[in-house]
Amino acid sequence: MKANTTNFIVTIVLAIILSLFLPWWSVMVAALASAIFVPLKRAAVFFAPFLAILLFWVVYSFILSSGNDYTLAKRIAILLPLGGNPYVLMLVTGLVGGLAAGISAVFGKQLSLMLKKQ
């Protein structure tokens, strides 16, 4: 359980730091790296970074949007279309980031297994 928490935190911290230099896929790099350095087992390999980035992106987008009365979020939630609900848009944002992070973490895990084997 401890490893899960560590991975979760490391993923978020790395994602925040990398976002300063890299585009959106910095979350994939962050999750990949944390999967290698804080190895997890089974479903947690995917879910720890998934939840970490989901939380990060939801909270960040909430902070940006709530300061502006969700003006743009409401419009984008019509565009996509998500019924104009800004919270659904935040959730979708989190899911997108989480999915990318989770998948690259699985790859990270496989990569570290390969490296270990040799």
């Binding site: 959106w24 896929w25 940006l64 502006n68 003006t71 743009l72 419009r75 984008i76 997108v96 496989q110």
Partner: protein, 803 residues
């Protein structure tokens, strides 16, 4: 198994990256688009209106005060700094729009949108939009000062672009996944071409030719007379033209080319128009002249206008600017006020071109003349470029040939357009912004070539005036109504009407000047002018209003701009209701009939009369002109006024007959038949949408510039009015800027437009004027007299030079 898992997870990782980083059709690259640190969430912000910004190339400090409407009041120390700041500030608030409009103008939408825009792009290239912009730049470069200003503006825009991170790009860039490119004076020229196309890009020569061929000259003249039986022209009828000493071009013996053409290029919405007027001090309750302008254009978001105050120690101008163009376009300064309406005139003519066998030469005066080839390279997103060779003659581009909307191997149709004449129109506005009196105004106009405009004027000195300015060919009688033979020099434009003989009026006896896109002049004007789709309703309502009493106030001006009287309906509907056979009405028909009878002909929001009229008239009009529905033939039905005139005076004409029925219908029959259909349409509409009050039935909306994206548009705007009504608000066009200026010293200005100062859909300033605009309210324009902030100012930004 390990390898398999490894490979699978690797592929999945690459796959998810690709899926989230790529644009699929209209779906943006979703990872790029939604991530909170560079995606749309970064656009969830309001404008900054404080602080200091360093701008390359400024020579002195520029103070920018923002008021509560987010109007920037710019105080610079010299012209170059002023226009550099205008470029910077316009980009700051409207970057995507100003760039997108120039892409649209240049036929470059395929670069952004992909192959779907290719036909549009080809059409714009073939229309010579880029060619025209090049002519403008050529002329502009001859004037060192104008060019320097245009370059300063471009540099200002680029200062803004260069300081942007991808996360700061306007949301539309993220949606379409591209980035802004550098601005240049070429883009300003393209924006001017965009306006020229919008306002002077229409003609009916080909459609008229088809009608003439099908119906013969006598019938054509009945349907399309040069002048209607009534005219209430812009320049008063009693004007003395004896000063004009250059005659109209003598009419040669010329034969019309009676070809049949199936399809023509897109024309701008013929409903675009505008109102402007000014009253003298004697006619004004306050003793000061008052001027008003409301250009009727497409209702879009971001709005076509951006309001600014632009001042230096030597001049101080305020009003509506066009993002991409320099200076104030419709506004005022300390001494004068001005505004424009479109001066529709036939400035596009078509010539049939006969090529030699390899299409390198064309016939002209019994000789072969060289064709110039212009290769238009159209870039397409995700595809190889499309190269379109457009052949140019001395008339202009051969728009239609075997490669475009025509199947003639060795012939084509070339376009001669005033929009291709080199002109430095930008200088007109730079000079108007500085003008101090009538002479300055009249001089500024001399540079204006196209699109021809009715420039209204009033000054604190007490003058009012109106010039119809543009470069107009001095045509022979009838020239350019139909397609002409391009091989005969007598069909060329022989000369232009000398500028001083352009129709104008200064301080007319009647005490007011006005224009509403009607006939510029009556038959007494010594040059050939024919009805080119002129307005016949708004002008009469406006002129009747100003003839109705002695003196007028600001309130009268507001009332007139918001006037919903439907003169068109009032001229036909009582007649239809009276003569129509009412004997076999259904219950529903009886009900609608009674509602129609009760209507007082105001297109107010809550009325049902305007909806009944609108449904009825649309159906009736199509019924009358079923003869114009000819397969594979480009046709334009006759104008509204003439249609109503014929319905009332020639009700048994053969045109009234519906060709598909064995009976011979008259106007009276058509009234009855179209009424039944209208009732049916209204009840269907009601079943689907609820009450057909005018406001619901009309459904005015302001659509986002990008294909009207609903998410960034405003629907069901609560406003009355309509087509051919002074308050011209229709479904998607209307008064795009309403301005009233009283010529006190300094002038007092009121203004509002259906949009907001910000181009960012995430800003509260994106559409915040719409409700007040719809309610007929005006905002006081805070005309600052010095760079001192007043209590109307909510924030001040200082632009400072970088050393």
């Amino acid at each position: 198994m390990k390898y398999f898992k490894f490979v699978l997870s690797f592929v999945l990782t690459i796959g998810i990256f690709f899926a989230l980083n790529t644009k699929f059709g209209s779906i943006p690259p979703i990872g790029k688009f939604l991530n909170p640190y560079s995606g749309v969430w970064q656009n969830e912000t309001n404008e900054s209106t404080t602080g200091e910004i360093t701008i390359l190339g400024l020579t002195d400090k520029v103070t920018v005060h923002y008021d509560a409407q987010l109007i920037p009041h710019v105080f610079a120390q010299n012209d170059l700094d002023l226009y550099r700041a205008q470029g910077y500030l316009t980009a700051k608030h409207r970057l995507w729009q100003m760039e997108f409009q120039t892409y649209a103008s240049a036929g470059r939408l395929s670069e952004i949108i992909g192959e779907g825009a290719l036909n549009y792009d080809r059409q714009e290239r073939r229309r010579g939009m880029v060619f025209g912009a090049e002519q403008t730049i050529k002329k502009m470069s001859e004037d060192v000062k104008t060019m320097a200003i245009a370059e300063a503006y471009a540099d200002g825009v680029n200062s803004y672009i260069n300081q942007l991170d991808p996360k700061d790009y306007p949301v539309e860039y993220k949606l379409l996944d591209y980035k802004p490119e550098a601005w240049s004076p070429n883009k300003t020229a393209l924006l001017l071409m965009y306006m020229t196309k919008m306002l002077a890009g229409g003609d009916e020569d080909i459609e008229n030719t088809n009608a003439l061929r099908l119906f013969g000259k006598e019938r054509f003249d009945l349907l399309f007379p040069d002048f209607f039986d009534i005219t209430d022209p812009i320049i008063p009828k009693e004007t003395d033209w004896s000063f004009v000493d250059v005659p109209q071009t003598p009419t040669p013996i010329s034969y019309i080319v009676l070809d049949s053409i199936a399809e023509t290029i897109d024309k701008p919405d013929p409903n675009y128009g505008s109102n402007n007027w000014a009253i003298s001090g004697e006619k004004s309750t306050s003793g000061h002249p008052i001027l008003a302008n409301d250009p009727h254009l497409g209702l879009n978001l971001p709005s076509i206008w951006f309001v600014m105050q632009l001042s230096t120690p030597t001049h101080n101008a305020f009003g509506a600017t066009l993002p991409g163009a320099l200076a104030v376009i419709s506004g005022f300064n300390q001494y004068i006020a001005w505004g424009e309406t479109n001066a529709t005139r036939d400035v596009i003519d078509w010539y049939k071109i006969e090529f030699n066998a390899d299409r390198t030469k064309y016939k002209y005066n019994n000789q072969w003349k060289d064709v110039t080839i212009r290769v238009e390279d159209i870039k397409i997103k995700g595809k190889v470029s499309y190269k379109d060779s457009v052949l140019y003659t001395h008339h202009g581009p051969v728009v239609y040939d075997k490669n475009f909307k025509s199947d003639k191997e060795l012939a084509g149709y070339a376009m001669q357009w005033a929009g291709h004449i080199p002109g430095n129109g930008q200088k007109t506005f730079l000079e108007l912004n500085k003008a101090k009196n009538y002479d300055d105004y009249a001089n500024a106009l001399k540079y204006w070539v196209a699109p021809a405009q009715n420039f209204v004027f009033a000054s604190t000195e007490g003058d009012i005036a109106l010039w119809i300015q543009g470069m107009f060919p001095n045509k022979w009688e009838g020239q350019g109504k139909f397609v002409m033979d391009g091989s005969k020099s007598e069909n060329d434009w022989q000369s232009f009407i000398p500028q001083p003989f352009n129709a104008h009026t200064k301080n007319p006896e009647r005490g007011f000047v006005s224009s509403a896109n009607q006939h510029p002049v009556d038959e007494a004007y010594p040059y050939f002018v024919f009805n080119d789709g002129y307005e016949t309703y708004r002008n009469r309502v406006i002129n009747d209003f100003f003839n109705s009493k002695e003196k007028f106030s600001i309130q009268d001006f507001k009332d007139l701009q918001n006037n919903n009287y439907n003169l068109k309906a009032a001229e036909l509907m009582p007649f239809m209701l009276e003569v129509m056979d009412t004997s076999k009405f259904t219950l529903e028909e009886k009900e609608i009939y009674n509602l129609a009878k009760a209507w007082q002909y105001n297109n107010d929001m809550t009325e049902v009369g305007p909806s009944i009229w609108s449904a009825w008239w649309t159906i009736l009009y199509d019924m009358v002109w079923d003869e114009f529905n000819v397969e594979n033939t480009a046709m334009d039905s006759p104008f509204t006024y003439q249609t109503i005139y014929l319905l009332k005076t020639k009700g048994d004409d053969a045109f009234m007959d519906i060709m598909d029925t064995p009976e011979t219908e008259t106007a009276k029959d058509l009234f009855r038949l179209s009424f039944s259909k209208a009732v049916l349409r209204l009840s269907e509409w009601k079943a689907e949408n609820g009450d057909f009050n005018w406001v619901n039935y009309k459904g005015t909306f302001a659509g986002h510039l990008l294909q009207g994206l609903p998410a960034f548009s405003r629907f069901d705007i609560p406003i009355g009015g309509g087509k051919n009504i002074v308050n011209a608000t229709s479904e998607n066009w209307g008064p795009s800027w309403r301005m009233i200026v009283e010529m006190t010293s300094p002038p007092t200005g009121l203004g509002i437009y259906p949009g907001g100062q910000s181009g960012n859909p995430g800003s509260k300033y994106y559409d915040n004027f719409i409700d007040d605009w719809a309610a007929g309210k005006y905002h006081t324009l805070n005309f600052l007299q010095s760079s001192e902030a007043t209590n109307a100012i909510i924030g001040t930004q200082i632009l400072i030079p970088s050393n």
